[in-house]
Each structure stands twice: as structure tokens, then as C-alpha cells.
């Protein structure tokens, strides 16, 4: 059974067992004073409300609208991303890779779940699950098909397997018909999946 199947598995007794164990563990840790309950709330709130793919979308929108920023982002992404205020855990060393009509980039972590948290938040279940981790490096076109994405014939694919502490951010291609749009409007077109490389940016009509 894969990670993903598990989440859609309604084996209630097994989930309850996990729930009970987690509750028991938290009780012990709180009783022993190893965790501050308010710190736990702060950690959860950070990744549910503050750090997520809207951060990355703002980075991409800026790169689309500002050639000098795009150049800085592609040359050394970590400080360029910090210009917009994003930094820290699982975003300490970021490399931005740009899609072109000739080349499509896709990011995976075959060994675990490495993902650029500071710009994309926590990874989705499919990113952490066996089907994606096993197939992305061998059959990325098949994976894209699972996402309903077909690349034009002849497009080369580069898959980045994040086996170290370098985190990769895909800069998707700017959709046609977006000249004159503001950064805020452009950010609405940048999906999480387009920054992983399992999707493309939305067309303006789709976002309207």
C-alpha cells in the first residue's frame, strides 16, 4: 500500500490507533515539559496560514514582470527570494530553474520528500507518495499525463532529484495574453504544481 492509498483508506480502526498513540505521546511530552503547547500551535499555524505556494507565486510573478529580478533569481535564487521576505527552513539553498518552449523542468525527491517549504509550504501527499517518487525520474511524461498535462512534441524534460539540501523552484512560462497585467494578477496564474513542474501556469481566461 502506498502513502497515497493510505490517506484514502477508510480503515477507521487503524487510524484510531494512530490517533490514540499521538494523543498519548503528546500527553507524555507535555507532562514532561519537553514541548510548549503554544509552540506547537504556532508551528501548525505557520504552515497552515503563512507559508504556502502564494509565496512562490509572488516570486514568479515578480520574475515575469521584472527582467532584472528574473536575472537575479536565476543567478542566485536564495537572496532573490529573500528580497520578497521569504527565507528559512527547507528554503536555505534554493536554485530556480526556468521553463522554456524547448525545456520543461520537474522536481522530485525520490528518497523522501524534500521540497522548498519557504516558497511552496508543505508538500502535497502525492509528492511524498511512492507513485510520484518512483516514476518522475523514469517516465515524467507519463506523470504529466496523470496531471492532465501534455507538452508539445519535442520538448525536452529535465528532472531534478533533490537528494541533498538544495531546493528547486520551477519558473513556469508566462502565459500569452498577459502583457500589462500587474504582479498581483500574474500571481493568480501561478499554481503550486506549475512551480513543481507537474503543471503549467493558468491561462488568463482560466483565472477569471
Amino acid at each position: 500500500m502506498t502513502d497515497h492509498d493510505h490517506h484514502h483508506d477508510h480503515d477507521h480502526s487503524e487510524l484510531s490507533e494512530t490517533e490514540l498513540r499521538v494523543r498519548a505521546l503528546e500527553s507524555v511530552l507535555t507532562e514532561k515539559g519537553y514541548v510548549d503547547p503554544a509552540a506547537l500551535d504556532e508551528l501548525i499555524q505557520t504552515y497552515e496560514t503563512k507559508v504556502g505556494p502564494r509565496n512562490g507565486a509572488r516570486v514568479i510573478a515578480r520574475a515575469w514582470n521584472d527582467p532584472a529580478y528574473r536575472a537575479r533569481l536565476l543567478a542566485d535564487a536564495t537572496p532573490a527570494i529573500l528580497e520578497l521576505g521569504y527565507a528559512g527552513r527547507q528554503g536555505e539553498h534554493i536554485v530556480a530553474v526556468e521553463n522554456t518552449p524547448q525545456l520543461h523542468n520537474m522536481v522530485v525527491c525520490t528518497l523522501c520528500s524534500c521540497y522548498p517549504w519557504s516558497v511552496l509550504g508543505l508538500p502535497p501527499v502525492w509528492y511524498k507518495a511512492a507513485p510520484y517518487r518512483s516514476r518522475a525520474v523514469k517516465d515524467p511524461r507519463g506523470v504529466l499525463d496523470d496531471f492532465g498535462v501534455a507538452l508539445p512534441e519535442g520538448t525536452k524534460i529535465k528532472v531534478w532529484d533533490s537528494t541533498a539540501e538544495i531546493r528547486y523552484l520551477v519558473v513556469p512560462m508566462r502565459p500569452d495574453g498577459t502583457a500589462g497585467m500587474s504582479e498581483e494578477q500574474l500571481a493568480e496564474l501561478v499554481t503550486r504544481d506549475s512551480m513543481i513542474g507537474t503543471g503549467l501556469a493558468r491561462q488568463p481566461a482560466e483565472a477569471a
Binding site: 487510524l15 506547537l40 508551528l43 539553498h93 502525492w126
Partner: protein, 218 residues
Amino acid sequence: MDGAQDMGGVAGFGPVQPEPNEPVFHAEWERRVFALTMAMSRPGQWNIDMSRFARENRPKPDYLSKSYFQIWLAGIEKLMAERGLVAPEEIEAGKALLPRRDVPVLKADEVAAVLRRGGPSVRETTQPARFAVGDRVRMKTIDPPTHTRLPRYVRGHLGVIELLHGTHVFPDSNAMGKGEDPQWLYTVGFDGRELWGEDGDPALTVSVDAWDSYLEPA
């Protein structure tokens, strides 16, 4: 370690199943496991490589039958038990049975700064890089019984140096508590057919990030 976590190129896991409008967590217990794992690295003082090894160093059926956050739970249970912080009997009992160890605790008002700081793995070095962009290298064929970040699917294969990242903490050593042993880190690119044979996608390139001791000149 030849474990179930090393999934690149393994067949038979089926299609990817994207979930539209996916929530960050799918259950309250996942929120708790996430936060407990993050918070316990302060009193536990383990590093990220020890965390990964604790999650991965388990029988393949166990790894494959657990969901992602169930693996995280098993990982911190192991790390806490190893350090005498929480024994399995205490979790079974749902209450403290062993004395508390005197360890630092992550406070709420420190969380933002700790996350902001992160855990950079780059280290200063005076040692020169052994390889330059464009150099051809062969990945070593190693299969250590302990932690490694050299995936099976590239072992023995020919690649080309694409990027240099400076010297970074070496997980194989750091996971085992044997020091950081910083080494040059490279992005190494492989032709799809080099990895997957003549039937491989001719328009595919795959890269991994690899430390110096995973590589030999080719």
C-alpha cells in the same frame, strides 16, 4: 542503506493521484505529529540526517504500509527512545514513567526566529573542488548498510557535472553522529538512456545532487 525509501525508477506503484484543493493536513493527528516532530528537535538535539535515517531505517513492509506522517511518528519515537527522552512504555501508558531529562525546550516566542534561521547545510571551506562544470564522472557503486543519499538508480552510471554548490554537511556521516565531514556538493546530470536503457526517453535528462565521495572521474 538499501531501503524502501529509495524509490527512483521502481516499478509497480501505479499512477500519481493528484488531489484538487488539498488541505495542508488531512487529520488533526497529522497536525500534532508535524508540530511535535519540529518541536522535539530542540530537546532531542538530533540533526536532519538522523531524522531521515530514523524514518527510513526500518523493514520495507513497515515503511511501505505506513502513511507519511505515520513514518514521522515512528521516526521521533525511535529518536526519543534512543536518547532516553520518552520510552515506548510511556507512550503505551500515556503518562510519564521515567524521570524528565534536563533539556532545552522550544518556546512559542522562538518559533518564528527558528523557522526563519532554518538549518543551512553549507560550510566554509578552503579545499578546492575536485570537479568543474562539464566534467564527466561515474557514480560509485556503493551500498552502505547505514544512511546514504546516493540513490540506487544512478549508481555506476556516467554523468556530467552541471552545478557546484560549495561544501555541504555530508549526510552519510552526519546521520551516524560521526561529524559533519563537509564535502563539495555537485549537481550531476544523466542522459535518460544512460539510466534506463535504449527504451528510455531520449529527450529526458535527470540530475541528482551528489557529494564528492559519491563520485569518481570518468
